[in-house]
Symmetry: C2
Subunit: 362 residues, 2 copies
């Protein structure tokens, strides 16, 4: 049985939910997927670091019994009060580094360094962190190629909804000419509540109370979160090399509740749309802006916190993929789907190696 040793970098909601999945259904996953998962290291800004590479690795159940804010690795066997990210990523023997620290849209740090260190150490990386992927995907992919490891990031767009992997693996032989997406659940929820008659401030407050919006909702409301996702999708699906400056961004605060209600009365629904399209000269044009969509548009019926991306293709016309845009379990599943992707890619190498062994034996 193949086993992958994981190092979890950042132990907030997402990696904690991944640990819960491994602790709670690791055996079932092993039976279904054909590989076992063992967590050998965890680092966290507040809790410090914990390393156990012997036996079953880190015993997750006791950690998960402690409330997130109260976790302290320093007194544990193999623990330290410091996160020691660089040392853990570079030196602790692990097969896969799962990076789930906070997104920094300016320079991608410190996640960018975490990803680089892991790849340089010959470890596969999966991350839910939009920063390094939006800003440095091409160079990180090239670095991964040189080191013969996988760099996976399904969770950076629409949490565990298989958007990037669908575009990468289900569209062979098609030309994708562009896409439009409702890629932020908070802003979409707010727009729906404006249609229902709430004021902008009340709608945002409600989204915060429901856990959709952060304490500071700026990135959601002003479109900056969508901007990063458009960069990731455009760079991945259309091969564009977009920077933030290439993606003009207008958020929904440009709209009034009255605008939204009046449009709804005319059968139009305002959505915050992130889009990109290939120009005739081959370059890619992208933007984030509110758009009043008519009934029948593939994104018009996307309501509440749901996200959907509509890919425009030559042979199939428009193909949509919809699902949760956020959520800790949903995003943890993205990491699990990345691990499955890593297993499938390295599985071929394993199959080749097995034939080799059999040939040597024969």
């Amino acid at each position: 049985m193949t086993r992958y040793d994981l190092a979890l970098i950042g132990f907030g909601g997402v990696n904690r939910a991944l640990a819960e999945l491994i602790a709670g259904r690791g055996d079932a996953l092993e039976a279904e997927l054909g590989f076992a998962l063992r967590v050998v290291a965890i680092t966290d800004l507040r809790a410090g670091s914990l390393v156990r590479t012997d036996g079953d690795g880190i015993d997750l159940a006791p950690l998960l019994a402690v409330a997130p804010g109260e976790l302290d690795f320093s007194a544990m066997d193999g623990g330290d009060a410091e996160p020691r990210n660089e040392w853990v990523i570079r030196e602790v023997p692990a097969d896969i580094v799962a990076e789930a620290t906070f997104t920094n849209p300016m320079d991608g740090e410190p996640a960018l360094s975490h990803v680089r260190w892991a790849i340089e150490a010959g470890k596969h990386v999966c991350t839910t962190n939009k920063g390094p992927v939006a800003l440095h995907c091409r160079s990180l992919r090239e670095l991964a190629r040189r080191h013969g490891v996988c760099f996976e990031f399904e969770g950076t767009v629409m949490s565990g909804t298989p958007v990037l992997r669908t575009a990468r693996r289900m569209f062979g032989g098609l030309a994708v000419t562009g896409f439009e997406g409702v890629l932020n659940g908070t802003s979409n929820y707010v727009l729906g509540r404006l249609e229902s008659g709430l004021s902008f401030a009340d709608a945002v407050a409600e989204a915060q109370a429901l856990g959709y919006a952060e304490a500071d909702p700026t990135a959601d409301i002003e479109g900056y979160d969508v901007q990063l996702k458009v960069m990731i999708l455009a760079n991945e699906v259309l091969g564009a090399g977009l920077t933030r400056a290439d993606v003009p961004c207008t958020g929904i605060s440009a709209l009034t509740a009255e605008d939204v209600r009046r449009a709804a009365a005319e059968g139009l629904r305002w959505k915050l749309v992130g889009s990109a399209a290939r120009r005739p000269d081959g370059t890619v044009e992208a933007r984030v802006a509110p758009v009043a969509l008519p009934d029948g548009h593939p994104l018009a019926g996307v309501t509440g916190p749901v996200n959907t991306v509509a890919f425009h293709t030559d042979l199939l016309g428009t193909v949509t993929v919809g699902g949760p845009g956020a959520g800790r379990v949903e995003t943890a599943y993205a990491l699990l789907s990345d691990v499955i992707g890593i297993h499938e890619q390295s599985g071929r190498a394993v199959a080749g190696a097995k034939s080799l062994q059999e040939a040597h034996r024969g």
Copy 2:
């Protein structure tokens, strides 16, 4: 370069569109996908059969220049006035048989025999034919396993929209608990036109004029087409062993235009929904019936001829995949995606064989 030799069984709209793709962009596909396609046999009820296994195989351009109804293989080199399906499928050396004859919902014939003959002859099969897949998927899959070949049928549900392949390859580690789908474009188009105020008869006539509905629209309107797709999806995604008798079926003719308009005024949209769900005891319950969906339901915004399936899962909640439900080019793409799937699956064997050769050489 790997090359796959194809035998096209049935040369109606779909396989003709596949031939157009191969003739028109075979080189581009070869560069992108890493394999070449050569058509070595075509059979058709009206045109007869044509076999060319030398050189570049069948020269497609002259065939495609002839109007579909006027094609006659009998006078051509390698041609015969008879389709000779069994002989062609069993005896002509080909790697993949692309079966695209008409769907027979009663016993699946003659497509069922076509698929069996191909598998028994050690050939991979891809088909867009719902009959054999809905009625005999389990036994055909088992037959294919025993003969070491692939049995692919993406085009049986939502043409080339990657629904079956998404469920099979993108949901690892998830439990799919059920699905609901708008799986027939004709009936969905008709329902939309009833909302706009048309009578039932006028809406059906319009769908026929637009090419969405067949001359006899019974299978679309009465839900029988959706019933087959529900069986395929439920058997494939939920491991159910459903027969037609297990899927009660009510079509949209049970609705009046007035029902649809009144619901629309209340914000409800009637859709013909094919659904299945796992019961607590593990068995699967399925049905086809019109349902009045509220705004916010993932299928409520599916308009016109578009199809969408909403998969219900444990970790991700609802994930939707939408796209074209029919169309000759769209369905031909399904066959191409099946060939890509066959290539990926046999690619591993090839990688193994290559390692073997290298080991022998080394």
